[in-house]
Symmetry: D2
Subunit: 374 residues, 4 copies
């Protein structure tokens, strides 16, 4: 099988190239690029030297020849390649925000500054969080017309962390706060001041407080999950999302605060002026079990045992999402911590997982790497 | 004037030595240590070579001879030195948790595992956050009996970030969430697995979720601030505190979520599915002005102008606390970001500031260093 | 096939576990440990959670049951397991220094503080740098008695960098200087002050100047290579080796200065007060070609094209050794830069490569991973 | 006294602003910039907020009004400001390469691509390494016409490390190798790919092997030092210089290999296949004493005692140059390690030191900061 990768020279594209090169079902790779057509990808990424030597082709050529097309482009520039893929009856897996919203409510336009060019493409698109939408992905794949809106990195970590709580009705009516930290690769390959080594080494800070584009994506996902609990469309909780930049290369850590529904709270729990009581610990154990059960059959979600807290270093270079479950001392707020590698489960790995679902491959195919220990 | 530093070989002690060595009112320094008595401090910290060559003495000798005594010891082991200082009528500035609580409610015992050895010392102690307790510090100093309970690093950043909102009645009845990130020096000088370079480089994770000892200190401070707004003792908001470890040397970043009182909320603001409205921006500006006004005379608090977000890298090696003010898109939660150098304003610098207040020195004396740019 | 890993809980052991878990010829793994017998390895390395769950057994059990045994132990403690393996006719691959020297000259004793316990084991041992000793490894393997003395991390990078120059007679009579830098994982898993995050972050320094144990190993390898050029045993060049510690997790960079033989020097080249002349560039190209030719059939050595300089970041998590070739402006000193991942080609990866050679597997089996881009 | 800083927005300029703001003899500061005229420097460097609020002026205005002018510009663009300063009889301290060479031999043109615009300015210029040229600096200052060619960062570390050996005749006839590592601030403030966080984090590599512009500067300095030993102009040793980039913010570490003159070698010393002998240790001690004696009166050079090796982390944010002295096991090559903060002793701090020499201030004035411990 031949995989095309449009936008192969950005960080997500390069990670796709790395993962697909080791995928047992992929026989060859067509990397494509608008800016670097004709160059060899190993010249741009000398780590690939001798292993990935293909010359970069025009994006349309990749779309015309591959059996599956991945696009790692900025939002709003790749719809024509999706159209070609649809017409050829091959899957199109898009890592931009172009297919994350159906946009009946204008959310995409409001955050990305322009409406879709070819809105009707969304008839065949699906938000590609396999844990949430696996059956819809398969359905579209069966019809030979499927476009994947591969999730954003932050929404992946946030959604997997909150999913069981929201879908099982643990959440009360309060605001859910998602406080996240990302490694610097999340900013992409272009050198800009914020990601200049001396500016971000040895410093931590939030950015785009209350105005990051991943906020509506998280909010929409939470609403879909809350609807599962309600049994009918529901507005979903209010969401606050604060991304931070920390001096590391890979990883997204999300600390998620979910106010519990009355029935899930610990009665007469305690307060912050005393360490958590036994009752709080027991309730935490109960919710942890619910999480484990919820994700029982998911190959890439690990709900950590008591005593362990999710850390980005432990999912490094893998497609895992690690989740740990905690309660505040008052027993009324669920604190979930999730960790992913932003470039793998948060981007290229999830795209490969979507391909595996579409083609009916083992879902871990090409993604079986154990996280590096250091 | 002679300054004694007990526990001079730990990280906070070494930072005290660095700062006091450059203090214009300090003529000489007596570093003391239980474990390294007789050794020269420059042998333990070769960065001091040729500049701080004094041999380490017994703690009791420092307490007996200095004009002001700093103690950077674990909690519960230094009360006898405080007693000596009190008897000699000289100030004792303690960086442990020993004097942060009066402990009428047993908070110290509950979190630190044992009651005070000499409880009556608290008659002359004060929680040394100058921005909160400057007049009480001066009062005790005037009576020649003063023990400073120097604040914890996290509580300093959290308290300065929330102070104006709580004391001016902006906060509503909801839970305040303090989500913080610390550099690794916060873990101290002893080599342990969690702070082993390969274990914490390139990784981010929370630790002690819901059970960090700084939680009751933050909660108590918040209650004191809320009481200012109420005009009478008040319980203060419920608090959730989650510390994270990030791969950097210095700095504490706190992102603080404060639900606003009804009257401070933005009516018909918006939601997370749309970027913040103009009304939200205006209210943010109004609150920012309130913060600026609140801290107008504080030499070490910088409320950042619109467009800037607090970052630990910008307060590096200084005693500043940088604060930026934000609102969620819904206009009902105040998001305050505060950044300090954990070893300076979060420990040794604040201790020196307390000394300056006690002796009536210019409060920035010995602390005038501009933050390093990188 | 069953692989035993003795000392599986150290960093090199854990890296062996990671690599062997993905090896297509290995059906199962028996991790063993003296200190943690009975524990599950995923409890010590939670990154392995759900992927490597085996309980750690006694080392002797691993030696008795496996089809190939790896040992990642300190020097001088594992000879009995090698004996068991020899008796059972299975390969023993040792990552300590125990089989790197035949020690007829007492080099091992002089540097490691004691003589071998069972010296006769060296009859069946070979220094496992496949690029140097592949045929001898195969020879011993054919006889069903083979112990691999897996090379040290620094000697691997230094030896591969100097090999073509020494074996082809480019080197003159002067001292060869090996100036190397290592990531912190090279120091192992035990927390000690030198590898405590705040002590080594944002700092660079040499250590063990002129007295690192890898010096005699490098020197011996250089002599073996020089003997190839001479066609008979030769003393080999004098060697100076200076290791440095730099704040990164993985990687060893070696900058190697080799004085050229008279016939290889650029006549009337120039000096440091002028940029390198065209003649110097041409000679550099000639030597680069010689290097390429020398390593033509090696699957893991990449001689970089003109314009690229070896960097540790580009071999990260791979078994590659990248080499770039340069000359000084005076045209009389060859400067070779080599980069390896210290935990892969410098330890566990090379051990797996040795296993592949022994069993006649494709030499890249289980080691085909492309270096991570970041 | 008023100090002008032209090019105040680059990294060296910002460091000058930081240091001069704390200098007791400087009453006010005029920061100047071509690109950012009119902007406030605290907007570009928010770490200066509230402490350095001056608006940036045109460079000519700074040159016309200040009592001393610092220029931190690229080479070849600031000669007119030097001319103004000369005419006004005020010192001009230039951090570019413009005044590091008298260029009678065309070295500057060969490396910097063009000849000097106003060559005659060199009549009043001096290479500002105070340890080497202090008396010449004073001489020119006395004449009220003085231009300082402030040394490059690498040449500062290399020259101070080699100075005693070369000037006292320890060096033999062989090539001196300077193998250096720099933090990323050395690359300046402009975001480029090489200094993009994900490209340089967790990686080490050399750059500009044999062709870095600091090579001729090091070579010229070494020749000047060798001439002191010879008692007459001497060619100086051949020099090889290899800079490396390591993932840290500040610091330059130089490991310098100096072949000893016959008379300084250890007779029957040993070889790399045995640990250094006692005779080698004794000779090392002898040379260390010579170094200590040589630098006895230098306020910023610390020759470390036996057992300590120079490390960049220990001179962080100070004007110190730490030096440790070693020998190879063969007793014929002196290995000197020097460490400086590239932005302080390697740039802005040395510039301030030059100002202190010119005006007869205490040489440590404004530079008394003890290195930060972490």
């Amino acid at each position: 099988m031949i995989a095309g990768v449009i936008g192969a020279t950005g960080y997500a594209g390069a990670e796709l190239v790395r993962l697909l090169s080791g995928h047992p079902e992929i026989d060859s790779l067509i990397p494509a690029s608008v800016s670097f057509e004709g160059e060899r990808i190993e010249n741009l990424y000398p780590n690939f030297l001798g292993k990935v030597s293909a010359a970069l082709v025009k994006p349309e050529d990749a779309a015309a020849r591959a059996d599956v097309v991945f696009a790692a482009l900025p939002s709003g520039v790749g719809e024509s390649y999706a159209k070609t893929a649809l017409e050829r009856g091959i899957p199109f897996i898009d890592l931009s925000a172009d297919y994350r919203f159906d946009d009946d409510e204008g959310t995409f336009s409001a955050w990305y500054g322009k409406p879709y060019g070819v809105p009707e493409l969304r008839r065949w698109s699906v938000y590609g969080l396999p844990e949430l939408n696996r059956s819809r992905i398969r359905e579209l794949a069966a019809g030979k017309k499927v476009i994947i809106g591969n999730p954003g990195c932050y929404p992946t970590g946030a959604s997997l962390g909150a999913f069981p709580a929201l879908a099982r009705g643990l959440a009360g009516s309060g605001t859910v706060i998602v406080d996240s930290a990302s490694g610097v690769t999340g900013g992409g390959r272009e050198p800009v001041r914020s990601f200049h080594y001396p500016e971000c080494a040895d410093s931590t800070a939030p950015y785009k407080v209350s105005c990051h584009r991943h906020t509506p994506e998280i909010s929409r996902n939470f609403a879909a999950m809350a609807a599962m609990a309600a049994g009918s469309p529901a507005p979903g909780p209010a969401v606050i999302f604060t991304p931070h930049l920390v001096p590391m290369n890979r990883g997204i850590l999300s600390t998620i605060y979910i106010p519990l529904a009355e029935s899930w709270r610990v009665k007469s729990a305690g307060t912050a002026v005393r360490p958590p009581s036994k009752a709080v610990e027991e309730k935490t154990g109960e919710i942890r079990e619910l999480y484990r059960d919820f994700y029982r059959d998911e190959p890439f979600v690990r709900v950590l045992p008591a005593g362990l807290i999710a850390a980005t270093g432990r999912v490094r270079l893998s497609n895992f999402c690690d989740i740990s479950v905690h309660l505040d001392a008052g027993g009324s707020v669920l604190i979930v911590v999730s960790a992913i590698d932003n470039m793998v489960k948060g981007a290229a790995g999830q795209a490969v997982q979507n391909m595996n679902v579409i083609f009916g491959f083992d879902e871990t195919s090409g993604l079986a790497a154990i996280p590096a220990s250091f």
